[in-house]
Symmetry: C2
Subunit: 165 residues, 2 copies
DNA sequence: CACCAATCGTTAGGACTCAAACAATCTAAT
DNA sequence: ATTAGATTGTTTGAGTCCTAACGATTGGTG
């Protein structure tokens, strides 16, 4: 379902195009596989878990963050999710239209907007997250227990080095 | 710069919300770190390598695929990049407006559109890809050589199991 | 030869992404 | 007390993402 060409075919072609330049193919493979994996997992979870509940990936992630940390401010949602405040504003508008979340202005600081789940939002998450986690288990079942730990560690290292610049 | 809460804080909170349900936190950590890493790496590369050339992530990826496999059909670009044909149409329109790619109708099959790089497109990629790969090296330098191999392998396994359903 | 089904790229509409600019609000310094 | 600066959430505009529907083209079959 992915590309027609394999990674090694691609590497050979890059070598042809950049004859004399030294290319770090091992690093290229890590980064390339990182995005392939993230995309594949995202698509898989959207189809198997989220689509039956008519929920988008971002919608679910925002719902999840609110579920865990409610009441939570918009800026904090953005920080947890890893996107901009502007994006969160749009997603919240969608979720609010579906009666899954509620926006309320803070009394101590009127600039802040506090977000909480509605009753049906809570019900949805209590049902949805175990399904989601079940599928996460299925996905990682291709890895040995030690691989699961080491992969998580490697990914965390990559995240850390990448963020501090 | 990411979330305020750590992963273990999140796990504790999930335990509180789902008291009696068994949750696979190790798998959750892998999936969570997968998306954090992909996002962080993407943002990092956009800022350090792509932004100076006024290029978006998707724009670069499409340019890269065309550079390697030109002349290439629209449907093949979509397959390599991992998105829909419709998305590619939009991105190509942007890239064509910047005079980086050329669209040309196939003579043997008039339904097909063949895409190639312009001179300036080729010049850009010959300059840009080594920079990009250099940064990939920097990112993976937090990992030992054996970790680089095993991480790439684990990610490939995840991609494969996830795609076949 | 004429039709039918498959396939190509494009368009339409809705959701999400960002950066930049904005009004409202709070805080700190004078 | 008042002004200046910082911060919050929102809006705007351009770009990207998807699915679904569309016209154009092709190939096979009756």
């Amino acid at each position: 379902m992915a590309g027609i060409h394999t990674l090694s075919e691609t590497e050979r072609q890059v070598s042809v195009l950049l004859k004399n330049l030294p290319i770090d193919f091992d690093s290229m493979a890590v980064v390339s596989n990182l995005f392939r994996a993230a995309n594949a997992v995202k698509n898989h979870l959207e189809r198997t878990v989220l689509a039956p509940h008519d929920l988008s990936w971002t919608g679910f992630v925002v719902l999840w963050v609110v579920w865990i940390w409610q009441p939570i401010e918009t800026r904090q949602i953005a920080a947890e999710v890893g996107t901009s405040k502007a994006s969160i504003t749009g997603v919240l508008k969608t979720l609010e239209a579906r009666k899954l979340v509620i926006r309320k202005q803070s009394k101590t600081d009127q600039r802040l907007v506090l977000v909480t789940l509605t009753k049906s939002g809570e019900k949805l998450m209590k049902e949805l997250f175990p399904e989601f986690n079940q599928e996460e288990s299925t996905i990682t079942s291709v890895l040995a227990k030690s691989e699961i730990k080491s992969t998580a560690t490697s990914l965390r290292k990559i995240t850390e080095i990448t963020q501090q610049s």
